[in-house]
Symmetry: C2
Subunit: 208 residues, 2 copies
DNA sequence: GGTGTTGAAGCACGTTCGTGCTAAAAACTA
DNA sequence: TAGTTTTTAGCACGAACGTGCTTCAACACC
């Protein structure tokens, strides 16, 4: 049998190297040679775990989606535990939405990588399936959140979908600005915008 | 003197070729050879008008910013002509915000190119200055729009800035989704989200 | 203890990239 | 017509890329 090596752990190490490279130098720099260097391995070793460069990228994309989705769903569970319209629920909602933003180093790396892959997927067909999974997963979480925040759970179905898409767009825009214009879009500004949106949101279903 | 060639027009043709390549195959494919092919020129010819590859990219970035800024400012002037809170003004506002979205072929190409350059600017320092100019210019337009929509022009200064950033983030998020998930974010969905946001916006300053 | 499977490493090939440089072609001036 | 300057075209070089294929060392099992 082989050398004692946990193949799955090794793959995760390589993926972490991919993340660091994308966050620091962009996705186009995530070549096999660069990744191998960053992971402290030889090119042949990386290729032993990933059949091709595309394989490595798709696997990394999938990994970052799983990380983000995991955070979002556990945060959503925390929201569901709180009683509706309570201050505790509001805090849980802010915490959930904060998972989208690059508020600490780990979140920033994931956000960078996530954005890079989603944009790359527009061009590279191999990434398209994962990009769609990413969108579906995150949209589902935001959709459930909107349902929870909608008073009584009633409300027009169409309005709920629209509000979910609106919240999702705002969060993606905030994340983008925080990544690209960090000196303008500070953490405080993010927080202000977020609370303003939540306030605007709670009013809309009632006005219908 | 030279061959009868309008140098500025020739540069614009090359820039158009850059736009087509970025929109179709991504920014990393916008190499000198590809651009020259797309423009129907030789590599040497392109290099005659642009000192380096970076030069070409920076010039193209600047060009797309000017195009977008021009559209926005003329649309903003149209908004300013209408009487506040009138249906005509509302239409003009929707038209202005529609300039952000890939609603037709030309707007889609510009949006693609704009997004690609802004994200590339995070990595490539040569693009940073133009990226900041882009952000400043667009933020100024959106800021003036928020001022126009704020009843009486009064309202807390901080609130206005927050609302401007919120609108900008939402528009960028909408644009992004329309580019990356066109099957989910249709033109109709864009319109719905946009009107929902405008409704939420008009309520906030009054509630303060 | 021998043996075979597997992780790790590296070479070689063809392609593409940016760029410095040279030379032909074209068009206006004298 | 001869000369000058701009435009166009192309070659050559070094670097980086993905990938097929080979080689070496290490460990588990019979």
């Amino acid at each position: 049998m082989p050398k004692i090596v946990d193949a799955e752990a090794r793959r995760q190490e390589v993926v972490q190297a991919v993340f660091r490279i994308i966050a620091g130098d962009g996705l186009e720099r995530a070549s096999l040679r660069e990744v191998a260097d960053e992971a402290g391995l030889a090119v042949g070793s990386v290729r032993h775990y990933f059949a091709s460069s595309d394989d490595l990228l798709v696997f990394s994309f999938s990994a970052v989606i799983d990380r983000i989705a995991g955070r979002l769903e556990s945060a959503l569970a925390a929201v569901e535990k709180e009683t509706p319209a309570s201050p505790e629920q509001h805090l849980a909602v802010v915490n959930l939405l904060g998972q989208f933003l690059p508020l600490d180093e780990e979140l920033a790396v994931d956000a960078c990588v996530w954005m890079a892959f989603r944009h790359a997927a527009r061009i590279k067909p191999v990434l398209a399936a994962e990009a769609e999974r990413s969108h579906r997963t995150v949209a589902a979480v935001v959709g459930r959140l909107i349902m929870l925040l909608s008073p009584g759970g009633a409300g027009d179905q169409q309005t709920l979908v629209t509000e979910a898409e609106r919240l999702l767009a705002t969060m993606d825009g905030l994340c983008m600005h925080a990544l690209l214009q960090p000196e303008w879009m500070t953490a405080e500004m993010c927080s202000d915008v977020l609370t303003a949106h939540l306030r605007s949101l709670s009013g809309v279903p009632a006005a219908r």
